[in-house]
């Protein structure tokens, strides 16, 4: 599949690298004991360290270190036994210390890679590094006519900055990369991946070049907070750059913002000194040293990763690849599926989950985590179908009610009297009664109008309000009519 952009002077290749800021899943901040919970009152989750008060000092959260290592291992990356925290110095009202503690020359995680699937095959995206750093606070510019307001709740929250190589060749590839990375982080449990709440943000470095030629000058598009915007921004930016170059212009290396309303990128106002961050090792912190045992312990406790799990689903449960792909988009879906498939027909389980439950969830606009039906409840319904207690047709009705009320299948079946009638003698008696009542139709049938079988079935079902086992009804009817 060609990812080239064709211009008036020929084809251009788009080159994209991503810098992803993933909020580390932890209770407290990277260097302070304040909470990381989202949505609290302004400045209520701020320690004196996070507020940059005089004389305050950072102490690192061991779980954040573990999470970064876990993420590195999930990307098959090199874990650096010694890494160093540096100060990145700049002034901004929501940066209380006047510097961000980050990692510059010696990050905690080195090179790794991520495999992504595109319609025409797989790509391997190089991961350059992951470093740990502090988040800044939040500035609000439109609450007061003359002032900006500062909330430091986010100040000091741990972020992993995951930097890819410029291995991506289109907006679609970048979107797939971010989606795959997000899934991986969620399986690892190292980031909740919530882009609305800002737990996952992405910067894209975009340039264009003649296919296979020298790398062009890149622009950095900052703070893309949805996968769709990422793709749109790159597609817009690539065409913009091609147009500039084809008009004989030059690309200026700069930071750009994506205006989602207009679907355009635009240049950000920048100071002449904006890029002199004066990095140096933070003298309040010593180098971070990790033992081989510490790393091995994390490696041993690593959960099954999405790619492995997907392949296992196909081989162990015999479900289709497309279905398996869907089941591993979220760890909760995969877990739900395995709980549902346990002791049941896996294909049936996959079908109920992907078609019925997700259909209902989508209509209700709910995520799986808010589903009124859990795996045990849905499994109970599947079991009732499998053992013939209810018919497949009633099962749909039971599911609808189950989704509304969250009640167990048995409860609904009993309350609505939907238990399937499978008693052969009882059905035979009903059949005999129906045939006796419709002697004329019986004669017609026997003279060759076999389509009337449906009529007799309908009559029997009507008598039983649909609970008669249709297979048995059919069998007995055929037998009697043949007689």
């Amino acid at each position: 599949m060609s990812t080239l952009v064709s211009g008036s002077t020929g084809d251009w290749e788009v080159v994209v690298g991503l810098e992803v800021h993933a909020q580390v899943r932890s209770e407290s901040k990277l260097f302070s004991g304040a909470s990381t919970r989202f949505g609290a009152e302004p400045n209520s989750q701020v320690s004196l360290v996070d507020a940059g008060m005089p004389g305050m000092l950072p102490v690192i959260n061991r779980e954040c270190v573990r999470q970064a290592v876990r993420t590195g291992l999930g990307l098959g990356a090199k874990i650096n036994r010694v890494s160093v925290f540096d100060r990145k110095n700049y002034f901004y009202p929501d940066l209380p210390q006047g510097y961000q503690i980050s990692q510059y020359t010696r990050p905690i995680v080195g090179e790794g890679s991520l495999r992504i699937t595109m319609p025409d095959g797989e790509r391997v995206v190089g991961i350059e590094r992951i470093h740990l750093e502090q988040d800044a606070g939040k500035s609000m510019h439109d609450q007061d006519p003359s002032r900006s307001l500062i909330d430091l709740n986010r100040s000091g929250v741990a972020l992993m900055e995951i930097v890819s190589r410029p291995d991506l060749r289109s907006g679609a590839e970048a979107a797939a990369c971010l989606r795959t990375l997000r899934t991986l982080l969620r399986f690892l449990g190292t980031c909740d991946g919530n882009m609305q709440e800002g737990s996952l943000r992405c910067d894209a470095n975009v340039s264009v070049r003649r296919p296979g030629g020298e790398l062009g000058t890149r622009c950095e598009i900052k703070n893309l907070n949805s996968i769709r915007f990422l793709q749109q921004a790159i597609e817009y930016e690539a065409i913009r750059q091609v147009e500039v170059l084809e008009d004989g212009g030059k690309i200026i290396q700069e930071t750009r913002l994506f205006d989602a309303d207009r679907g355009e990128t635009r240049s950000m106002r920048s100071k002449e000194d904006a890029h002199d961050y004066r990095y140096f090792p933070d003298p309040d912190l010593l180098p971070l040293e990790l033992s081989e045992d510490f790393i091995a312990g994390i490696a041993a406790s690593l959960p099954e990763l999405p790619e492995t799990r997907r392949n296992r689903f196909v081989s162990q449960y015999g479900i289709g690849e497309a279905e398996a792909d869907f089941l591993v988009t979220e760890p909760e879906i995969a877990d739900f599926f395995e709980a549902l498939a346990d002791g049941r027909d896996p294909k049936l389980a996959a079908n109920w989950l992907t078609t019925e439950l997700f259909g209902a969830l989508n209509r209700a606009g709910l995520p799986l985590s808010k589903s009124p039906v859990d795996a045990g409840t849905l499994g109970g319904l599947i079991d009732l179908v499998a053992d013939g207690t209810i018919s497949g047709r009633s099962a749909k009705d039971v599911f609808s009610e189950m989704f509304e009320t969250g009640q167990a299948a048995e409860t609904i079946v009993d309350a609505r009297g939907l238990r399937q009638l499978s008693d052969g003698a009882a059905i035979a008696a009903l059949v005999d009664a129906v045939l006796a009542e419709h002697g004329d139709k019986v004669a017609e049938y026997r003279s060759g109008k076999v389509k009337l079988l449906g009529f007799f079935v309908g009559q029997v079902m009507k008598q039983t309000r649909g609970t008669a086992n249709p297979q048995l009804v059919n069998e007995i009817l055929r037998e009697r009519l043949a007689g």
Binding site: L48, A51, G52, M53, P54, G55, M56, L57, P58, V59, I60, R87, N89, F91, Y92, P93, P96, Q97, G98, Y99, S148, I150, K271, H275, D276, R278, Y279, F280, D282, P283, D284, L285, L286
Partner: protein, 492 residues
Amino acid sequence: MSDLLDLDIAGASEALDARRVSSVELTAAYLDAMEAAAGLNCFVTPTPERALEMAEASDRRRARGESGALEGIPVGIKDLFCTCSIPTSAASRILAGFVPTYESTVTANLWRNGAVLLGKLNMDEFAMGSANVNSCHGPVENPWHRTGDGAGDRLVPGGSSGGSAAAVAARIALGATGTDTGGSIRQPGSFCGIVGMKPSYGRCSRWGIIAFASSLDQAGPLTRTVRDSAMMLGAMAGHDPGDSTSADIPVPDFEAALTGDVRGLRIGVPREYRVDGMPDEIEELWTRGRDLLAQAGAELVEISLPHTRYALPAYYIIAPAEASSNLARYDGVRYGLRAGGDEPDDMYENTRGQGFGEEVVRRVLIGTYVLSQGYYDAYYLKAQRVRALIRNDFDEAFGGVDAILTPTAPSDAFAIGEHEDDPIRMYLNDVFTVPSSLAGLPAISVPAGLSVRGLPLGLQLIGRMFDEETVFRVAGVLEQAAGFAHRPSGGA
């Protein structure tokens, strides 16, 4: 009253234990003396009510039989230590109005050990200086005067812990905390004729002390005697999980290290500390110190610390670099001075332009420059490499000696206003103290004699990393042998 002020910490503790005096009486005597000596400008925020409350509480504890290591002892605190609900200024306009809601670990340790707070002490702005003339509260005056000079002669107490040193020398505090980044406890100790101890880096917590240069800053005591110094350091020190650079090792009984015996100890005398233009009287004092220790049974050994002369220039890269970053938080947003501005950058430039004094601006600019793009390797990394060589010099020397003896400062106290227009001349005050700071080693200044102008001069003892005990042990013997009994004419 005056004999109460003559007691040192050890003597006052004894008197308190024997109920010859109460902490309230002792504290009241100091509060009176503070008022009488207000002209020295040592205290920027006296806390008399707090002092008497704490003294009363101490007397009650003592009556219950509870007694901390500094129970009932009135002390002054350098205004670099954050003290809960008491203004803390770092002697800078930029912290105008700042009142911490928290207490530094070192001061909290002192209060836990029973000490009484007399007030906050003047200093050089953000601890940058060697004369205590860089203060938004005005200069501190040394209680010592040159022989024959009139009362109008005003000398500097040294810096940056100048208020602390002058207060202890003038007997308006029994002891005081200081901080030492490149000599800021030892050099004022020498200028004021008292004992100044900078412990090993990591011995005292930096939590709650306003940072100047994080890899160098250490708190320590300024006291009249070596024994007092050991007692007070013991009450200040200890591991603090809130400071990642704090050493997680036990605090020894420093007082017990004062055995009075140095027989068999090897004391190094570094040949590189004979610097160009050093006055004869400093050389003579150093020789006298060697002789005294030799007479006491120590073995004096000439050693070499070859990179000594590069310590000061390396220090003047590293300390300003760290300071330029540490002082970035003073931006007018969350506390302290705010000057107007149309947008944040404007406000920052106005606030910091008005809030910082000359020396601070000088160092922040140097630090910003040496860290900026294209200069980092040539300056900052180079300086950290030289620092490694300096530490290595000491490590090698300590393979053969137990402590090192040097002068503390290259001169006696100078006049307020002198050298002020010559920053490098001012920096040279720290030529003997900076190398051990860069290496993180414990070092003490002990008063050992008078200059020809009748001003005190100190000798410095440097020890192995975390071996304050040997430093105290040798210092105790040196103090005894030198028998420095002179008193300043100013003060209480």
